[in-house]
Symmetry: D2
Subunit: 214 residues, 4 copies
């Protein structure tokens, strides 16, 4: 499973989001890899409208229907076409009890939950809530130029061992070799963003990762 | 100007949001009043797609294009069809410097800014940033059953005097009489939510306010 | 299988189409019956966007990508979200060779084909093209007030016998009793329009038919 | 006025239609020229959703709300976002009385009517119905490689003289020079299709025509 996080990049906003999602869909068809895009709330409906691969939200708030002006409501995203959501991304942290509530909420809506964890300890805490996936972002690898494969592959194997959940690798994936190592060490997939969204050729960059995932 | 804040009410989410916005549009046409709806980010595109009255966002984050997973980006909402946004609603508070940044951002996008203020002092502080409107929510009136007209009309006249900006009354509006008094005391409009969204007949409730606004 | 043909009725155009499709979806969920809506080309995308029951087109032209101004292109409807189409409806007749081409086209796109036939003879001719369904409209029953059940049930059994294809009954269905008889005589479903679209309560009218279909 | 007729070209269907319309919008902004796109019925809503330049339908049927399965209803296209329509295109001929009805229908909906005419005589007949524009397609120039400017510029000046209506040139426009001549001879605009839609660079091709139109 490859999740392409569109964040709020210009290259992945509005009609650009539709376009990029279509590229992701083509790569998914071509390679047979499972590819999911995580779009902004404002874009979920049109992206889900134009592609048939899964579309996730990037975040939900731990609220229900009611008086919550400006909140990001899972029910609204679900109706707009999202089949899952990231939660607790390092750029959108929640409290642990909110992560719990969000996992439950997504489950009740039949949506896939991908909870992010800053490290193995947080990952183990979150695993108790039973999300579908936990994406671990080894702090040593976030935003840097270092590949997980050339840095510390044991970061992944440790996470996989400690966290009793399907683990996604959420940082340090730069190329197909990183994917291959992550997979070999037990990861069930990866979470990528700028490496695809801001690539000179998103199609080529994603194809490399998708081929390595097979 | 009447802004109907859809919040995350079930009656104003997804296709219900489209339906309610169409009712608001009909009342606008019938009465000639200026009516705007503030929809959830996930619903802005479809609501804007089906009605021709202005559609606002309920909130924007003080961020630009970039790595901001789960953030509510004004540019995305604008492209989705929003022509303005609430900011700093009591259910989605921002820091003062963020309010400043959001007002500037909306202005640069040609969008209308409606900044909420908890009281006159905050309103005066925010007025310096030059938003198009400031919606004051007299704390004595929030969420209660008390009408501004039967309670303290001077709350409105004080706000209008002190805040050098177009003032909207954001709490305590229960009926046409409240609207008439608010208008008489210098308010340029009102911000309503459950009074319309959860009314037995939103059409009748909104028509009463719209008629009083003329 | 119940197909609700929206035609170009005002009650089933634009946002009304979305609303009616949602009612059909609710009846489908409530009764467990298979219900499909056939929307205008201009409405297919938004209807398919808001409901998860199958959405069909009402017509396709026997053309491919190219210079065909104003034509109704199956590929465009498919991309917009249609999973099937009526063809050769009595209000939109095609030549036999065009019916053949349209059946082939729909098949190649993975879309369901429902070819209409004015009588058993035309039905037998069309059956050779291998559509998924043939909807027979007994001429005696079109647009009249007569129920197929009180008129000539043998019209249905004859069609079912003669036409080697899944037969839908496309006229004379007024109530649950008609459905029950059609089903008993071998029909695989029905094609209805004004009886649902223009009913005082489409939900009640469709529920009656859906219950009888079980 | 430049109308880009998307026809049913693959390059102008579905998400490609949105993309191409965005390119047209960019050229309109860059050059200041008035550019309109004519999209398939199934695509009008999403194209109108993503661009702010006028979106036209390619055809309407001379029908009203009612039992017209598969018909192209102006009201539905209007609600989907079309602000005008081509009628009587050479690939979608109507009878004269239908052209009359369609012009009236578009007028009543506040939509712009562009009636096509095969020659000056038909143009003069249609002019009596009072459409906003008449697009003349000199039969000598349709689909060929010949430029109107190098062929018979007098075809245009004759049409402009004879037809008492705003005339658009609908065939034989290959380059900026053709546009300049058409404009000089009194045409109010042009109707183009494959020259833009199937160009190696639609942006460059359209920019050339738009610059010449100024």
């Amino acid at each position: 499973m490859i999740i392409v996080n569109f964040k709020t990049y210009r290259e992945a906003t509005g009609s650009n989001a539709v376009r990029l999602a279509e590229i992701c869909e083509q790569v998914a068809k071509k390679t047979g890899a499972g590819i999911t895009v995580a779009a902004q709330a404002a874009d979920v409906r049109s992206v889900a409208d134009f592609v048939s691969i899964p579309v996730f939200a990037q975040h939900i708030d731990a609220v229900d229907y009611g008086a919550h002006t400006g909140a990001t409501l899972a029910e609204a995203l679900h109706e707009a076409g999202a089949s899952g959501s990231l939660i607790n991304h390092s750029e959108q942290r929640l409290e642990l009890r909110q992560v719990d509530a969000c996992v439950k909420k997504l489950k009740s809506l039949g949506m896939t939950s991908v909870a992010c964890a800053a490290n193995d300890e947080e990952g183990m805490n979150i695993a108790r809530f039973g999300p579908d996936y936990i994406a671990v972002e080894p702090p040593e690898l976030i935003g840097g130029a270092v590949s997980v494969s050339t840095a510390k592959p044991e970061l992944i194997s440790n996470s996989v061992k400690k966290i009793r959940c399907n683990v996604l690798v959420g940082a340090g994936i730069k190329n197909g070799n990183d994917v291959a190592i992550a997979k070999k060490l037990g990861a069930r997939g990866i979470l990528v963003a700028s490496g695809i969204v801001k690539a000179a050729s998103p199609e080529r960059a994603l194809t490399e990762l998708a081929e390595a995932m097979k």
